[in-house]
Symmetry: C2
Subunit: 188 residues, 2 copies
């Protein structure tokens, strides 16, 4: 990829991220992004067809890595002990969130949080299907598997939201305990 492209792409992401942290997505004009990124009008449209595509690209950039690492190597990345169960995936995710650059946390805490939480949830569902459903862990309950997948993904995302909106006072371990406290009784 051309160095010039990387540079302007990064400038656009940076400007967009900063704007998202301070104001509503709907109220951000393409013109503002252009001004903040200090690029030409033509250049923006050469990179992103619309503002929505830019948003999508940002989501993929932010969440892609976190979800991928959780999918690929869910265990063994951390040194503390954790049982080799699907449950630890959630602790893994929380730790990654806490350690991630502050962009993702800032956006998840901003007034645009719903946009990113939605994207987070849709990716999380795929993860749960891999880690739970495909391993037959959701068959024990009397509730429909489809319902359970949605419930688990929603609960986790909402837990993360609750954690963030209260300035992450608790440790990832505590939050995992809270979260598992709400879903483990259902699965047994």
């Amino acid at each position: 990829m051309d160095r010039r492209q990387k540079k302007t792409r990064e400038a656009i992401f940076k400007a967009f991220t900063e704007l998202l942290a301070e104001k509503n997505y709907n109220q951000i004009a393409v013109q503002e992004i252009i001004d903040a990124a200090d690029i030409g009008r033509t250049t923006f449209y050469a990179h992103f067809e619309t503002k929505d595509y830019l948003l999508k690209a940002l989501c993929e950039k932010l969440f892609g890595h976190i979800i991928d690492t959780a999918m690929g190597s869910p265990h063994g990345h951390y040194h503390y002990s954790c049982k080799y169960s699907a449950d630890s995936v959630f602790l893994h995710l929380l730790k990654h969130l806490q350690e991630s650059d502050r962009n993702i946390l800032e956006l998840l805490s901003s007034q645009n949080n719903e946009i990113f939480l939605r994207y987070f949830k849709s990716n999380l569902k795929k993860l749960i299907i891999t880690q739970y459903a495909d391993k037959g862990l959701l068959n024990k309950s009397s509730l429909p598997e489809d319902f359970l997948i949605n419930h688990i993904a929603s609960s986790f995302v909402e837990t993360v939201y609750w954690w963030l909106s209260r300035k992450m006072k608790e440790t990832p371990e505590e939050i995992t305990e809270y979260f598992l406290g709400t879903i483990e009784p259902i699965l047994n």
Copy 2:
């Protein structure tokens, strides 16, 4: 209130609701609402300062009644037997949703569902505080009360969303069973 005001106000709500059912909120121009409602440009702005205020007014109109009736007379409205516990509030809500004019269901199922589900959730929290927290029903758990309120409200809203997105195949009783199946184990 002036008959003319009522009439145009209703025309605006009708046009807005129909537009919301078919396209994204962000992509609806005030001009479209004006055209669909067949009113003058000045008239719209005389009634609603912005599109956002119109949305807020619509939310209050749609959810205000449902939540109020659930708060005021949570039991005794239906003839079938139901235990006089706080749990029946959820069945009450689902039945009201099912019976409500198709506007609210159409909007909750539209691509704008998040806007309305968010509003629904915030109102639901107040209801849960009244029906659960203030009655001391959330003290038995080892989880923080604040966390539980958010969890219960989120879970119910997500359950409703799951129900709607699958065309309401199940009865309100079945959905209540599913939902209570996820939260009752936590409270005992």
